[in-house]
């Protein structure tokens, strides 16, 4: 499963006129967006702008009410496409078993053989500095360790694209730094990064480009340098100045 060369590439991911409605409310609409084969996109926007929703729609956890979410590897079924992406959530959900068993579980679902599972899982834990905690129960690890374990789990799955939904919003500075380093490591390995955050400093450090959402609409998609110096929309300017955007 780790030899991706024979597979048609998953990316780019293209969203066309995507809308999402829930209980009569339109939460996202008119989203047209493409994610190419590499790079780090940071999704910014005030609370309730639809950042998490957008990533869940991309990842396939939610189905759009209108429009299409399309991967380049069209012929694959939904689940096999899901297995070539990963998502790290704000609060990681870990199974009630050891740290290494959590990573092995994800690989087992992907259909990796037993011996290979163990090896890949151990490597991933080692890489994220969790080797000494491999046999500790995942649920008793600290918040920062749990998030690193979630990243190690994603690492072992070797995704082509990694979604991160405010992965550091509950973490202290050193754990936040560890997550940012991990994102960088994924990027260096060629994984496409799509991440939402409320931490503008973090966004500046990590972004190649910025997707700015407000009230369920995509207001701009701008290269990072340009976005932080001279955003195109008034809403983004206000957002960067810490003003309420409504």
């Amino acid at each position: 499963m780790n030899d991706l060369s024979h597979l048609p590439t998953l990316l780019p991911l293209t969203l066309t006129d995507v809308a999402f409605r829930h209980r009569g409310q339109t939460l996202l609409q008119g989203i047209n967006l493409a994610f190419g084969a590499s790079g780090r996109t940071i999704v910014l926007g005030p609370n309730g702008a639809g950042k998490s929703l957008l990533m869940r729609l991309c990842h396939g956890l939610l189905q759009p009410s209108a429009g299409t979410v399309r991967w380049a590897a069209l012929r694959d079924s939904g689940r096999s496409i899901r297995r070539r992406q990963s998502m790290v959530f704000q609060r990681p959900v870990l199974l009630r078993r050891s740290a290494i068993a959590n990573v092995e579980y994800a690989l087992a679902v992907q259909g990796v053989g037993r011996r290979e599972r163990r090896r890949h899982a151990a490597e991933a834990l080692e890489y994220f500095g969790l080797a000494s905690l491999a046999h500790r129960m995942a649920r008793v690890l600290s918040g920062g360790e749990q998030q690193r374990l979630a990243l190690a789990r994603a690492w072992a799955m070797r995704p082509e694209i990694l979604f991160l939904d405010e992965p550091t919003s509950a973490l202290d500075p050193s754990a936040t730094k560890a997550v940012e380093d991990a994102v960088q490591a994924f990027h260096d390995r060629g994984t496409r990064i799509v991440m939402s955050t409320h931490d503008l400093g973090q966004a500046r450090r990590l972004a190649d480009d910025v997707v700015f959402l407000c009230r369920g609409r995509l207001l701009e998609r701008t290269p990072a340098i340009e976005f932080f110096q001279q955003p195109r929309t008034a809403e983004a300017t206000a957002f960067l100045h810490g003003e309420l955007v409504w």
Binding site: F89, Y105, A106, R139
Partner: protein, 233 residues
């Protein structure tokens, strides 16, 4: 095995290890534990399937399972009696008034309790796990063993409740077992018999032994699960 004080009688019964009593206790445990084991193997996955899948009539199944938790033991006994009696559809199996018939009746009683609890527990856990497991690419079918395993300590409570019901009921085992001395006599039917005979100290003594047994099994399971919860987080 006579005397005025039921506690003395109970103590005497335990200390003497009266072979008749040992036989009765052994059969009680054997019948109830077998019934609980069979019911658990069937009901845990069934509860999980009902929790995870949407199908027509699901609401009726859920309501039915919840309602059947209160199935009166005598009714369960009667149903099994009708099935197994000589004129019944399974009469040729010759199971009536055997321990096997008692196991069947108790399985029927315990099944809805474990299934309903399993449904509830797995549904709650799925609420927490669903996004993550779907993100990992797990199908609902693949999620079932994962959820059952991660909920194992909550589910143990349900299995224990099932054991409590099985070991405490008298109606079902009395009807299908017949309370035959040395063959199908268990603790509850023995207590009922001694009470109606007027040997109240013996009946009470047996009652205390039964109580101790149930408490022993429950507290052992409770200890195991508390310790594991602390360890697993």
């Amino acid at each position: 095995m006579t005397g005025g004080n039921p506690f003395a009688t109970a103590l005497e019964l335990i200390l003497e290890r009266d072979p008749v009593l040992v036989g009765i206790v052994g059969l009680s445990l054997q019948v109830s534990l077998t019934a609980v084991a069979i019911a658990a193997v069937l009901a845990l996955p069934l509860g999980a399937v009902v929790a995870l899948f949407r199908f027509p009539g699901r609401g009726i199944v859920v309501a039915g399972l919840n309602a059947l938790m209160g199935l009166p033991p005598v009714v369960a006994g009667l149903m099994v009696y009708l099935l197994l009696s000589r004129a019944g559809p399974l009469g040729s199996w010759g199971l009536l008034f055997t321990p096997t018939a008692m196991v069947i009746a108790q399985t029927l009683l315990v099944f809805p309790i474990i299934a309903a609890l399993s449904r509830q527990v797995v549904e709650d856990l799925w609420e927490e796990y669903s996004e993550q497991l779907r993100s990992l690419g797990a199908s609902r079918l693949r999620a079932i063993p994962t959820l059952l395993w991660d909920a194992r300590f909550s589910l143990l409570t349900g299995v224990l409740a099932g054991f409590g019901r099985a070991s405490a009921e008298v109606g079902a085992v009395l009807i299908v077992g017949g309370n035959i001395d040395g063959v199908t006599r268990v603790m509850t039917t023995a207590i009922a018999l001694e009470t109606s005979r007027g040997d109240l100290p013996l009946a009470l003594g047996l009652g205390i032994v039964l109580l101790l047994l149930v408490m022993l099994v429950n507290s052992a399971a409770h200890l195991v699960s508390e310790q594991a919860k602390r360890r697993l987080g």
